[in-house]
Subunit: 127 residues, 2 copies
DNA sequence: CCTAAATTTCCATGTATCTAGAAATATGGA
DNA sequence: TCCATATTTCTAGATACATGGAAATTTAGG
């Protein structure tokens, strides 16, 4: 993910209706949710929500498929993971964070030093 | 971090000058950078940049201290980690991501399933 | 074809944001 | 005090975004 793309994603997530819609979609998982269902859940008129869904879609963090008369939206969790990677990237050079692959578990592992995330505690004699 | 706060942070990071300034500050680490240094690096007029730094500061992802005539800005990496936690939160319920504390290493560990971050591979007989 | 349902596109209005010139504020040194 | 430096605040105009009513599009069923 480059800086332009990440700006597009941040912009997409920087509006309440959109962020709440995205979170609903992440929670909904692979089944996704119809535009109408999201509209009803958020209490946002369908045409307004459509504008926002289109915004999310353009940013690439949601995708959609038609199912009969409904259009089902899906969170693109992959993109979200890329965004997290982008955020953590700069930290790696400061020994604040570390990203590696665990092939046994089949996952990416991000380690964030606690002196970064828990600054209230005294730092250990470690760096 | 709640949804309102995260919107404020996403909004702060959704503009090129601000995101680039923030990344410079992350790279700069605890020493930080003066407003003038950032302005010069980005090629953005000081008053324009001041507007953006104030935006970042209001969102809480940078802080500042005065040093003589300069004002030194610092990335609030803690806030960035909270933001990552907020993003990952919804995934956890879907077994896509997981956050835990490793007390021996003194860090937070985020595990992101590869079927999330590496969708090009075939998924195992798992879902 | 006709009607209903689900969603999007078009459009106008109001609001917020971005930008940079000019003026103001804060600091350091002679 | 006076001057130079560093940064912010004020201000105005241009641009972009959010909202929702009305019309258009797409699909389903008779």
């Amino acid at each position: 993910m480059d800086i332009k793309e990440s700006i597009t994603v941040f912009d997409a997530l920087s509006q309440e209706a959109r962020l709440r819609a995205f979170r609903l979609l992440v929670q909904a998982g692979p089944d996704g949710l119809s535009a109408g269902a999201i509209s009803e859940e958020l209490g946002t008129p369908q045409n307004t929500l459509s504008f926002h869904l289109s915004h999310l879609s353009h940013a690439g963090i949601v995708s959609s498929r038609r199912e009969g008369r409904s259009i089902i939206y899906l969170a693109n969790v992959d993109m979200m993971c890329e965004l997290i990677g982008f955020l953590v990237e700069d930290c790696c050079s400061r020994e604040i964070a570390n990203i590696r692959q665990d092939k046994k578990k089949g996952c990416s592992i991000i380690e964030l030093a606690n002196y970064c995330c828990k600054p209230k505690k005294k730092a250990a004699a470690n760096g």
